[in-house]
Amino acid sequence: MNFERIGDLVRLRYKLMWARTRTRNGKIALFFIGYLLLVMIVALLAAGGIGAAILAVRSGKALLITRIVLTSLFAQALLATVLMGFGMSAIFSDVELRRYPIGASERQLVRHLVGIIDPFWLLTLALELGLLVGLYAMDAASLLLGFVAVLLLFVSNYLLARVIEAIIDRLTKRGSGSMILMIGVMLLSFSGAIIPPLIKKYPGIGPATVKVLAYTPPFGAASAMTQSGTSVALGFAVELSWVLGLAAALVWFERRPYERRVVATTVLNFESRYDRAAAMLGFDHAPLVGWWLRFYTRNSRFKALIFLSLPIAAFLTYNFAAGRRQSLGWFPAAIGTVPIVTFFATSRFMVNEFGYLGGGFRRCFLLPVEPSAVLRTGSYASMVLSACFIPPALIAWIAFAPVPFDPREVFVLLASALTGMFIVHGLGLWATLYGPRRGNYSQSLGNDLSLFGNIVLIGGIMFFMFSPLIWNVVFPAMLQPAHWWYWIVPPVLAIAFYRVSLAMASAALTGRREQLMAVVEGRA
């Protein structure tokens, strides 16, 4: 292993990141990210890590609480990476690294060293270390053994996220893969609703599950940190087995990239159904809308998110309706979660329409249409695709809604969905213009959005999710189907906001095109 070259390449990655801060926007983004990270680390270290440790020792349930905290952190890191793409940003690809005089295993090491030093993973590590420091301060853990246990847990968490990424990547490239993915996500989403009643009905399941969980990395780490004697050795053995197993799986996946089997053909399939669909919907510049539809539907990230949208909404509805002490009920929860299906799948392009076009962005200004037509049609295509999720969401509500079913609920949910779609798409236009980022079209996972894009996307999800709580305080009638006609107003206002945003953003595009071109083509 040439550790000097490996070190040089890891440093190069951070030099490149630092180089981005040379621009004014880069400096502002760096300041905010640094500030937010600092605040989060301090707050979470104190409340989540050390606080949990103190509680664990004082309550005399150090092992149990450590297991719960570590499992939560482990699962949250996985969810955040798989769903939102945090910590999975594009690192050097193997092809990029081949130009340097290092071998295959060194390239692999560089890629994952760079990957694991991502701020998101460091935040996860800080939280786990916080717990260890708390346990050590309360004399319930050895600092050295605990540190090794946390490091192994941290590495296994990262490796598992990468293995899941590789599996999802393969699934999205196969014809039947998306369906398998959806079934998996559905099962995972509804496990929260299925498991507690099962445990209640069959009390034996609980202890048996804990026995199985003892062989997972968080439980192994908890044993290694808080126990003594053979339990410590067993805990380390569990963690080490996972690290080695996952590393082997990752190496296997990376050495055998999935390749689409394509037979060379000279048959020209114009697939003009996209253009026809666009023309049928009455859009001007139907070929442009048709091209955007192709652009979206051929993207593996979009394909993966299509199948995640409805299960996620179902999971969040369940979580808000049944999983919380101060629940407002199923219907208010659904009012907050149904808008998410109208932008989740298309989110990546909605807030960064041009970021994945690369040099193709220039073509948009060479076409014999006013430049804003490209922005408008991109947004329309996103909304056409997003709107397709509304009927299945409403049908799911009708099928699974708690009895007695009130048909007026469907109107309210439709209005809520439309409100979400128009507001977030309106904001997406602004993010496209003022927060562009050069992205990788072929990457299935990873968060490659700008700060503005992330604020619109994550802020949109959070805002709509918590909107029933706001309605409950300021105007509770909005949460009752009996007052369904109140819901005529929000979509009308949302459409007005979208129209104004569209007009203003369209007018601003020509003036912004040179800056956008520089970002999209990687010159800024």
Partner: protein, 256 residues
Amino acid sequence: MDAIRISNLVKKYGTVVAVENLSLDVPKGSMFGFLGPNGSGKSTTIGCLTGLLDPTAGSIEVLGERFTADSAALKRRMGVMPETLGLFDPLYAHEFLAFVGRMFGLDEATTRKRVAELLAALELNDSSKTLSEYSTGMRKRVAFAAAVIHTPEVLFLDEPFESIDPAGVSLMKQWLRRLTEQGRTVFVTSHVLETVERLCDRVAIVMRPGKLVWQGDIKALSQDGGSVECNGQRFDSLETLFLHLTGERYADLNWL
């Protein structure tokens, strides 16, 4: 009549001047070579001429009409092969060309016919690969096909011949000659001076920052013993003229 008229064109990026007071007339039906060393403002000028960039000052007329970024009707009469090619990578070549053809106003039947003919002529027959899977030369061919599919009246080509094999270049030159014979205008930038010399009727040479240093007719160079005059000297090839104007550089690196 001039197909393109550039008057006192200035393009600045902040305080950096990329094009300085450039004035140029390109006659209709000519094959016009726009030459200059790297970073001399050729692509910036083409960017202004095609609506990609906003000129800081000056005016541009194409086919007798004032041209701006919003001149949609005028763009329909122009074909452009930009420096970055402007391809939409997730598409197949035939889909991309069909999209461009439809956007430029061709009907569906004509578009499909022309796409099939262009792909066959440019040897882009494998329709199982998306544009992202094509080699650089193949991508250039697709970009060239996209620029000519609607038989434009004015064609802008930014370094069209680089990375394309000799057979492909020969075919492209043949098509370009036919276009000018039909009275259409071709505005081309290239570093392949031999090709420019054989292909173009007129040439303009710019130096950093986009400053015109010479323009004239070069048809004489393609005749035996022919030469062109510059600053009282005669040059028998475009290369010697170019090096005279831009300066030949020599650096002795004793380790190389």
